[in-house]
Amino acid sequence: MSKSLLLIISNIIFSIGFFGVLINRRNMIKIIMSIEMMLLSSTINFVLSSCAMNDITGWVMSLIILGVAACELAIGLSLLIIYFKITKNLDIEYMNDLKG
């Protein structure tokens, strides 16, 4: 594999995930999916640098990122379910009940 191809690929995935967070403002599920892809791109960076330097630290950090992603997903999806039960809607632009 060429030297910097994977860095560029993870860069592209991070940017597309950011784009998904910005453009899917009407659908909360796809925002959570985009955040998941951004975390995946950071995992790719960690594993790549770990394999480039022959050091195990990147693998440990990517395991921890994986757990954090799972926790974030569980809590975010349960909040989503509660929000959907109350408002029958998933648009985050209508989430302004606390604005007063």
Partner: protein, 203 residues
């Protein structure tokens, strides 16, 4: 080897774009599965075989299935009736994400990507043995805190969704069956003790 790296990378980018742009959430979840499978292939190429298996088992086996369960609980017709985003917002998102991409690209090229050489997978000594050695000796505090984080997430999710005293009045959140009020309801149906061979007169 070179062919497979370009193969996985191009499919990775295409399926990532599909996740973001599909209007049907079920299709975008299936594209997410494709993303994870391609990343697992890339990990095998650069020599991180254990991480690739972990990625397949946890992400494809648990995370994506959780997404599918949530989509099953939600009325899909509501998701299709969502309003469209305005052109101005779309252009702003394209501009901001392009800015982020170029920024990261410039940073990566300044700090010297050329120093990073992907080692031959035969040279790499990383495997599950060295991972567990360092996970249980050098990074033991990180590992314990990671377990604590999982416990906290579990407690948070259960306490968000459990029935407690204050949420019993809120019938929107929790619909519970109250057996006593069902049986003692007057007007439509009633429970009577019927004596033998006489029956009940209907009024």
């Amino acid at each position: 080897m070179n062919f497979f790296s370009y193969f996985f990378s191009s499919f990775l980018v295409v399926s990532t774009i599909l996740v973001v742009l599909c209007s049907n959430p079920v299709r975008s979840v299936l594209s997410l599965v494709l993303v994870f499978i391609n990343v697992a292939g890339v990990f095998i190429i650069i020599g991180a075989d254990f991480m690739s298996m972990i990625l397949l088992i946890i992400y494809v086996g648990a995370v994506v299935i959780l997404f599918l369960f949530i989509i099953m609980m939600i009325d899909l017709n509501i998701l299709f009736r969502l309003r469209d985003l305005s052109v101005k917002d779309g252009m702003t998102s394209v501009f901001l994400s392009t800015l982020l991409f170029s920024n990261l690209f410039i940073v990566f090229s300044i700090i010297g990507v050329k120093d990073i050489k992907i080692l031959d997978p035969k040279v790499i000594t990383l495997n599950i043995h060295t991972l567990s050695n360092s996970l249980y000796s050098k990074y033991i505090i990180h590992f314990e805190l990671f377990g604590l984080l999982l416990l906290l997430a579990m407690v948070a999710v259960v306490s968000l969704n459990v029935n407690n005293k204050s949420s019993q009045n809120n019938t929107l959140l929790h619909k519970k069956q109250s057996v006593y009020s069902q049986i003692t309801r007057k007007g439509i149906a009633e429970i009577k003790k019927v004596p033998s061979r006489t029956g009940v007169k209907y009024e």
